[in-house]
């Protein structure tokens, strides 16, 4: 403690000296005490480059007891159990058993005692911050005390225990070998001992005198594995810095197992074998080199081993082992999280080389790390397999002659490598998969499928889309509405459509597009046929899965005409909700539900009548009808359809949207009607789609014919209340509901 204090004192002196020498007029400084400007409340003078404060003012500031002994010309000041003594003609301030050297000491000016401001205040445990730019001197009481700094978690964490976490910063030197943690307004605990350096790090706590902060400086010979993102966190009253694990030990055991140990958890390593240089490369992410033991010398397996910090962003530790005789290391099952173990690899045997359209496969007795690449002339795909022998069923050459592969050849390329070459018709994309079954590893290389031909054909009844692929296609056909389109998704397929001539459009097909995208991590080539209307479609495959034939039924082209004759005339009851003394819901601005209900119901009735349907309204004016009366009206008149029009409300003005209700019925006609209506409303009304809902509402429950209740929009929502008032919106809602009703009649009209 005293050493530290002396050290800081020296720094303080030099800094204050320069500070005051450059600004010798002390009065220019603005002095703040705990954030308050006290410049005018205190008398200061400058002597020998030091700023002195009148002792009386300081005592008042610190609420200290001041004793002046005229006989000794000595001054004593006591505040919060700290007593300082200073004598005239002495440069030293005595604090308990310690003494701080000052420049000016105690000075008498006009019979008043002046003492060095910085030193005295420091002696009482205050912190100073001098802001040179604006010549402002801040005096703070420390806000936190650093009690203890210690290593945790096997040296992977540094814990700074303090009273309270004050603002802090973590700074890195450019080479990564030094980290500084600055903690504002912090003092060091009296008991603090500075013995936290370990064999990896040198750590020091520095009091920065003219800035009210503490610095913890960590230095290391190797870059410090501070986790750049998320390396510092606050835990209760501690700041915790976590470091990446460091390499501790590399050894090779008696039974030739290579083990790599770190001070903390190691992720899985990536291994690579460079056959030319016989080098085994082991890349371990998130581990730092540190001081480690390495006891591999002149081993029969390993000629030479080198460890480097391959990269810092991201952090990768690289172990490069030059193998004595072309063996390899294979990672073993992990037993400990801080330990990686490798076993000298035996050669795998590959067998059962097989082919199919656009793919070939083989098995291996252990996992391989194949390397694949394409060569141009002649076009071929090369697969290098390391540390393998050719087993049964692996011939030098197989004539394949399918649409993509001419032949497959295998050969030993060098001592370590077996090469499989697929001679291709033309270059294409590829991918490979590994599967483990019954202790064997199955490798399949898939050449990307390609489009061979796309044609459109039509006869009297159907429009055909024929898509022919190079090999058996993995595809899915989807139908979308609004806009109507048929979409075919192909997996593992090269999009070579740009090589094709423009595909002929027909009266049914507006446009043909293609795109590539990712679906659940897989590349998908999508073919889109834009249709101008909905047609029912059928999908068939031909040429043993290579071709896809989509047939669009043409009869729907003339459907409208047919339907119009077929639909004929129906009897529809339209019910405007509420009325008379029952206003229904009341809007935010007082608009009553019964009004738009009637307006929309009337509009619907008009539009349906235009289509030659017979329509009756339950009420055509503002009058009250009970729910039972409405139901009886429709039932007694034997209506074919019942539609009730309402506007919604809830005690939350945010809630809004359109919804359609139906009551569960045996023949599901209620649901179908609601679906058909809501299909139009949900999409096109321009407000939030709350969907169709099942509910036991009175009027749709007791009516004998298919029925639905529509809640057009929310009166409790300001925007929607405004919409409900507008004729445009009322007309739009009515038109959409009528569209839905007609759709329903079309679909179930031939009952």
């Amino acid at each position: 403690m005293s050493e530290l204090k002396n050290f800081t004192t020296i720094i303080l002196v030099t800094i204050l000296l320069t500070l005051i020498l450059t600004n010798n007029a002390a009065a220019q400084n603005t002095i703040y005490f705990n954030g308050q400007d006290i410049t005018s409340q205190i008398e200061t003078v400058s002597r020998e480059g030091e700023l002195l404060i009148r002792a009386r003012d300081l005592a008042e500031l610190l609420d200290a007891d001041l004793t002046w002994r005229p006989a000794l010309k000595s001054l004593e000041m006591e505040s919060q159990d700290v007593t300082i003594k200073i004598m005239a003609n002495s440069r030293y301030i005595q604090i308990e058993n310690d003494a701080i050297r000052t420049e000016a000491g105690l000075q008498l000016v006009d019979n008043q005692a002046y003492i060095p401001l910085a030193k005295s205040i420091e002696a009482f445990g205050y912190l100073l911050e001098y802001q040179r730019d604006n010549e402002e001197l801040y005096i703070f009481q420390p806000e936190t005390t650093i009690k203890n700094v210690s290593w945790q978690e096997d040296g992977n964490q540094l814990q700074i225990k303090m009273d309270e976490i004050t603002p802090y910063r973590v700074l890195h030197s450019e080479d990564g070998r030094e980290i500084t943690i600055e903690i504002d307004k912090a003092e060091i605990d009296q008991e603090f001992s500075d013995n936290i350096s370990n064999n990896n790090y040198y750590l020091r706590v520095v009091n920065v005198p003219d800035r009210a902060l503490l610095r913890l400086v960590i230095k290391s010979k190797t870059p410090i594995p501070f986790q750049i993102d998320g390396g510092v966190y606050e835990h209760e009253d501690s700041l915790v810095l976590s470091f990446l694990p460091q390499l501790k030990d590399i050894r090779i055991s008696e039974n030739n197992l290579l083990s790599v140990e770190a001070t903390g958890e190691i992720p899985d390593a990536k291994t690579k074998y460079l056959s030319e240089s016989r080098k085994m490369i082991i890349d371990i992410p998130s581990v730092v080199i540190g001081n480690f033991d390495q006891q591999i010398e002149d081993h029969p397996l390993i000629k030479d081993i080198k460890v480097t910090q391959h990269d810092l962003d991201p952090v990768i530790l690289r172990i490069e082992a030059t193998m004595a005789n072309g063996d390899i290391f294979k990672p073993l099952q992990r037993e400990k999280s801080n330990l990686l173990t490798f076993k000298p690899g035996q050669r795998s045997e590959i067998s059962n080389l097989k082919y199919a359209a656009g793919s070939f496969s083989f098995t291996s007795s252990s996992a391989l790390n194949p390397e694949l690449f394409l060569l141009k002339s002649p076009p071929r795909l090369v697969m290098n397999l390391y540390h393998v022998n050719r087993g049964s069923g692996i011939l030098d050459k197989i004539e394949v002659n399918n649409s993509q592969i001419k032949s497959l050849r295998t050969a030993r390329f060098d001592e370590q490598t077996v090469r499989i070459v697929a001679d291709l018709e033309e270059l294409t994309g590829y991918s490979w998969v590994e599967e483990q079954k019954n202790g064997l590893y199955y490798y399949t290389v898939n050449l990307k499928n390609k489009f061979s031909e796309i044609t459109t054909k039509d006869n009297q009844d159907y429009q055909y889309l024929n898509i022919l692929m190079e090999s058996q296609a993995e595809y899915e056909v989807k139908k979308f509405n609004y806009p109507h389109r048929i979409v075919v998704d192909f997996k593992n397929t090269l999009n070579n459509l740009s090589n094709f001539n423009l595909i002929e459009k027909s009266s049914l097909i507006k446009d043909i597009r293609s795109s590539n995208y990712q679906l659940e991590g897989e590349d998908v080539t999508r073919l889109v046929f834009e249709l101008n209307k909905y047609y029912s479609h059928k999908v068939k495959s031909y040429q043993s899965g290579k071709g896809i034939k989509i047939a669009l039924a043409k009869e729907f082209l003339s459907k409208e005409m047919k339907q119009e004759q077929k639909i004929g005339s129906y009897f529809i009851v339209v019910d405007a909700g509420h009325g008379g003394f029952d206003p229904g819901a009341i809007g935010v601005n007082g608009f009553e539900e019964k009004i738009p209900n009637l307006a929309i119901a009337r509009e619907i009735a008009g539009l349906l009548a235009d289509k030659k349907h017979k329509v009756l309204l339950t009420r055509s004016s503002d009058k009250f009808l009970s729910l039972q009366q409405r139901v009886k009206f429709a039932n007694n008149k034997n209506a074919d359809l019942f539609v009730s029009i309402h506007a919604n409300s809830f005690n939350n003005s945010q809630t809004g949207g359109v919804e359609t209700y139906y009551n569960q019925s045996i023949n599901n006609q209620n649901r179908l009607l609601a679906e058909k209506i809501h299909d139009k409303l949900g999409r096109n009304l321009g407000i939030y789609d709350r969907g169709i809902k099942e509910s036991n509402f009175y009027v749709i429950k007791y009516t004998n014919m298919p029925s639905a209740l529509i809640e057009v929009a929310f009166l409790s929502n300001l925007r929607e209340e405004k919409l409900l008032k507008s004729q445009d919106f009322q007309h739009k809602a009515a038109a959409l509901i009528v569209d839905g009703i007609l759709d329903y009649l079309e679909e179930s009209g031939d009952k």
Partner: protein, 177 residues
Amino acid sequence: MAAKMLSADQKRKVLFILRVLLLTAAVLYLIFLGYNNYILEGKIKVYFAADNASYLQAESRSLDPDIDKYLQIFEELKAGPESDNLTKTIPEGSQLLNYQLDNKLLTLNFNLALKNNHWGGSTGERMTVYSIVNSYTALSEVESVKILLEGKEVESLVGHLDLSRPLMYNQKLTEGN
């Protein structure tokens, strides 16, 4: 195939182990059931509107020994949800005047404020009625709820839902279903 090669002795052993396992599972299940019942005892569930009145979500409340459980449920409904994400469903001034439980059918008699102060709308009505119905039918002794207004049967609260018949717990309206 492996099982066939077992000797009679081994078979007995395997069977014994299976029996022990089965017994343990049964005991654990019983403990679990008992625990659940114990935990649920002393708690009531009250439903509020969630996610823009798309469904109902329950909050649990401790039983207050100083007040009748049925009255407490309505008081809790009236007091509204604790969560900011839920919305209260009972209009101001509503009172549960009295109730009667008859063979699992609970008849709740409310004052007219439940109707007169209501904001209306199908959604509004559904949320109000089913928050009441679901909260009461969550009690094991209640199967269905009949709502009266000042002692009189009504065809509906605010013109949509059929209240002429008792209502049962609405699973579809409850969160997660």
